[in-house]
Symmetry: C2
Subunit: 505 residues, 2 copies
């Protein structure tokens, strides 16, 4: 299958079967915002639950938190997001595209270029010369570019029952001010109400480090995990849900003794690769890539990306970073609160005396829930060539999800809508629901069409109720991955579904 | 117990034990924003899961969605939130308080009032006269008030790689404009990038009605459920997490045939009351209150609040509203998309012919997850008078959560840290974790202190490993609600915890 075709098929299936819709679609949609439909919300919840289970429930050394999306604005000053989280934006004066200067095609200053007026396919050719910044428009190749302007990727809003614009307008009225002066007055007026939507969930774990450590009496090494939405005003949104302005993260900060970061980084990259391996059909589509020295953030002493082989190539799924003690030290410095840990059983390396107070180092596995959703959709998509009853070529499409993350665990299908079959089917559905499983009772259309539909949404089992069921309490269970059918007692079919739906250990 | 004392105790326990922290506390906190700590996040997740289970998994006629927080801005114009979701704000010129005019103490125009300068306790007395708007400052009683200004409760931000202020400053530079003109220019410039943070989750279900109905082939009556964060720039934030600017909702829109709203409203108020009854110790602290005619929103033909008896009195926990076909009709009108349903088995009441196309009516049970969290914390808080070993009066504090929502399902406690007890305890913990339960292994402090700690966080069972366990594989299981202890085989203790932790049916 052509790799980019696969993406088209996934986007289409997501829409057609209710995994992902464009946000506000009937209003023409909102750029790069997506809604998860009836099946998508289940897949997403199941992936999130699997992560939470592996991070929090299956271990003794990690606890969760759920912090507010709007945090104190000084948090983002301290973390470097206010000053550092910005990109040089440039407008092309020829085709009007807005782009990032640092990502544009680089070209030596003084190079002569030719491009078409207005960025059209045909038309008047214009000659230009690359200026000292050394790049051209990535769309039309023009060298007619605006100045660079720093654009911060954080969403800004104001908190509290006051519209700061009222005061601003009052303040500048009748004054002949420069743009820079107006900006200064505006920033000053909004200072007390300006807040940001968090661009990552991670900072909350640093800011609440002490509260969590003290209320739980956790001992280093220990971790704090969080899942939730983050927001970035991305300049380029791309690849469906891969890069969008509103997205979900699953991040964990693991606090460790200084000097142990190499071993813990190894531990967490292994752990996370093993986690993905539990849910994938194609482990070779996941890889670890170590960051080059010059790629590392200034506070990081090592970092790996977990990458997935998307249809357009290898791309980031998760970063596992060794962040040193940078974050805790920065927040401690900004607030005067001692964000440190006292180990009474360890000798202080400097004094040699028992009892060591130190600022923990941090290993951070930071995964994208939205990206894992996309990766596991791509991973599950399977087309199988076959022939239909009349010998015609016909391919079977199914989503080969691990049953624990499949949106629907089983479809309960009466062969006909009478003879007590619907009642029997509902009894079976009820038992599975009481076990906490999401199952579907479905009596519409032919049995073949129902099988095909449930293949396409990744339901691992179809349980069919037929005339024999009414006599001997046996059903047919059909396995999604092989299309094989087996006859068994109802109780055994129910147990098969319940056992298969358990999360892999 | 004094009712307001209870609130103080809950807030203190929430902080001390890691249920709820103030957001960004080390930065001095952010007004009315809260972070859920290691225990709070579990309680909140468990309540959310219980709701989702009851709405989506246990039924055939409701599916879930998870829409983006940022929706197309026209959604909020159509829904009436842009024009209608605003309050008349007034500044007191004496004490500087900002308040809602419509909620201030009403007083006939012309009434003479006396208040103290600056709103202080003592000081110069000032005489004033109530103006034609007919109210005074709720804080200091002053009649010196600013004009009313409409303040919209929605958070505004801008989407896309552009700061509209740059363009705005360029546009108004050098022009001598009125405040009103500046506002007009600003609104015009931000028109294409302005977006809101959703003030409710509900509109997404209306906007995606057709996508959901068509991808699932659901037949009316059916429902769409959603959980998630919403944001309101509240003028008054109060009662801890009861009213805050960032909060979580659990809303479900149930689409029905016109004319059946009375019976479905009855069904859903009963259903929701029964749901709360499963998790409360004090059912009489929950009541239904029907809205008065003049209290109903203009589109609603009937509405009930589920109210809880908070320490400060009865307050809203959930609204169950009959919304008629208002929302679908409004969105259909604004977009030109036919948001209707065709029932081929029903005769059209107007023509008498088979096949009826209609716009479904809607019953909406809209619950606050944050408020349910608070109500169930209050509900669970129990103080029991007793005596300690030496006969001194000593009260036992415990949180009497239903085990299915308790943050920790069981504490596994080795009596001593040696003799193989920790290993045995970890074996038991591992088995419970494999069953998907959040349990705590805890070996610090005396066994009595560990019991007290787990009482206070609502852990239903403590399983203690002692020297006898090492001989005969029996343990002591201690019941939180009675403090009773029983000896039983390990397997039976494990089964007790697993069975008790199931969601009530």
């Amino acid at each position: 299958m052509n790799e980019l075709d696969l993406m088209t098929k996934i986007v289409s299936l997501c829409k057609r079967r209710g995994f992902v819709f464009q946000s506000s679609e009937i209003y023409g949609g909102l750029k790069s915002a997506y809604d998860y439909g009836p099946l998508g919300v289940e897949l997403k919840r199941n992936i999130a639950a699997a992560w939470w289970r592996s991070m929090v429930y299956e271990r003794d050394d990690i606890v969760g938190i759920d912090a507010s999306i709007v945090m104190h604005p000084k948090v983002w000053e301290t973390s470097g997001h206010v000053s550092g989280f910005s990109d040089p934006l440039v407008d092309c004066l020829n085709c009007k595209e807005r782009f990032r200067g640092d990502k544009a095609p680089q070209m030596a200053a003084g190079t002569e270029v030719v491009y078409i007026k207005g960025g059209k396919d045909k038309g008047e050719k214009i000659k230009g010369v690359v200026n000292s910044r050394g790049y051209v428009c990535p769309i039309c190749g023009s060298s007619e570019l605006s100045e660079e302007r720093q654009f911060n990727g954080m969403f800004r809003t104001t908190l509290g029952p006051v519209d700061p614009l009222d005061e601003f307008f009052r303040e500048i009225k009748g004054k002949d001010l420069s743009e820079r002066d107006m900006r200064g007055i505006y920033e000053n007026i909004t200072k007390s109400s300006l807040v940001y939507l968090r661009p990552e969930t991670a900072q909350a774990m640093f800011v609440q480090f002490l509260n969590v450590q003290q209320t739980t009496s956790m001992k280093v090494p220990f971790g704090i995990a969080q899942q939730g939405k983050s927001f970035r005003n991305e300049i380029t949104v791309e690849h469906f849900i891969f890069r969008s302005c509103e997205f979900e993260q699953m991040e964990m900060e693991f606090f460790i003794e200084p000097g142990t970061q190499a071993e813990w980084l190894k531990y967490w990259t292994d752990n996370r690769m093993a986690w993905y391996a539990k849910y994938t059909n194609s482990p070779t589509n996941f890889r670890l890539r170590q960051h080059d020295r010059d790629e590392l953030a200034h506070y990081s002493d090592d970092c790996f990306d977990v990458e997935y082989l998307y249809p357009w190539g290898w791309g980031e799924l998760e970063g596992v970073a060794s962040r040193t003690d940078y974050d805790l030290k920065k927040h401690a410095g900004a607030t005067g609160v001692k964000l440190s840990y006292f180990d009474q059983n360890k000798a202080d390396p400097e004094t040699g005396k028992m009892g060591w107070r130190y600022v923990p180092y941090v290993i951070e596995p930071a995964a994208g829930l939205t990206r894992t959703f996309l990766a596991l959709m791509l991973d599950a998509y399977t087309e199988e060539k076959g022939v239909d009853a009349e010998g015609k070529e016909k391919s079977r499409v199914f989503l080969k999800f691990h049953p624990s993350i499949a949106p629907i665990k089983a479809a309960i299908l009466p062969l006909v809508k009478k003879d007590g079959q619907p009642e029997k089917a509902n009894e079976i559905a009820k038992k599975l629901r009481e076990a906490g499983l999401n199952v579907s009772y479905d009596e519409q259309q032919s049995i073949g069409k129902r099988y095909a539909k449930h293949d396409e949404v990744g339901t691992p089992f179809c349980i069919t109720i037929d005339p024999d069921t009414m006599k001997d309490d046996t059903v047919t269970i059909r396995y999604r991955d092989t299309a094989e059918q087996r006859r068994m007692p109802i109780a055994e079919a129910i147990e098969t579904v319940i056992q298969s739906s358990r999360h892999p250990l």
